[in-house]
Symmetry: C2
Subunit: 143 residues, 2 copies
DNA sequence: CTATGTGCAAATCTTTTGCAGGCTA
DNA sequence: TAGCCTGCAAAAGATTTGCACATAG
């Protein structure tokens, strides 16, 4: 997992992103946002991986704040939580519903080319319910 | 979530199922197996729900044993672990790869009619990897 | 100035593990 | 009998929370 370098430009991109979600841009949030979206790339992170990246960039953020911040970004619609592993939460900077590859060996989550996953048939939602999202996780094993 | 009633017949069904997985049929395992497959229905359980069901049937099984047993059944290929919730593991008595409905309101997992989910296109596995499984979870929200 | 965010440590929740005693083959 | 299984309690790992202090608007 590789993060955006922290530069004035990435901070500015992060700040703009925060404002889109109406999240108050504190120092810690701007740093984390910069790491996540500072270069415009999509990323898949865990609390732990983001925390390490922040430390590696010399930013001082506590692990609890990383957790709270990821949750706040999710609530603001800036991130999507992806469930692929029963013991860890993954967050995706791309909030659209799209398929993922999950590398069982490295526990890494990446985007699957969404143009190459297509349903020819999907069931109706049972009465009284509607489909909120369709999660597709393609689990990969090294051969 | 509803379990099979514990009867001599369900115990026998459970025992046969255990033998198929070459799992030694201890008293606790036979009880849990009976609750899971005693009536031939497919079930989706969590450690907690199975533990409660065992208690409700008057079986004496510790929670740790339920966890260990579910893990053992999985390793034996008798159950499938389904990842839909980052905080809880679900186990399915149907070991074939098939799609699920997840009811966000009740946190309940059910089978989606697999005849009604069909891909018209799936990506190639990236080089060096093969597709181990394709998880499809249709998240439902009450409307 | 006031509401909201942060950091730390402690709490919580699910799951696993160590160990002493029990039971299956 | 030998080895695997069980139960309990304690450990482990991820995440949340309480509270005092700091900071954005």
């Amino acid at each position: 997992m590789c993060f955006a370098p922290l530069t004035p430009a990435s901070s500015q991109a992060g700040e703009k992103w925060l404002l889109r979600g109406k999240v108050r841009p504190t120092r810690q949030r701007v740093s984390l946002a910069g790491l996540l979206v500072g270069d415009g790339e999509n990323r898949h992170v865990t609390a732990e991986s983001l925390f390490m990246a922040a430390k590696a960039s010399g930013e001082s953020v506590s692990l609890a704040t990383v957790y709270n911040t990821l949750r706040a970004f999710c609530d603001a619609g800036l991130l999507n939580e992806i469930t692929v592993d029963a013991t860890r939460s993954y967050f995706d900077t791309c909030v659209e519903d799209h398929p993922h590859f999950f590398w069982e060996e490295t526990q890494e989550l990446t985007d699957a080319p969404s143009s190459e996953v297509e349903f020819s048939r999907l069931p109706e939602a049972p009465k009284g319910a509607r489909i909120a999202r369709v999660d597709v996780v393609i689990r990969l094993r090294r051969d």
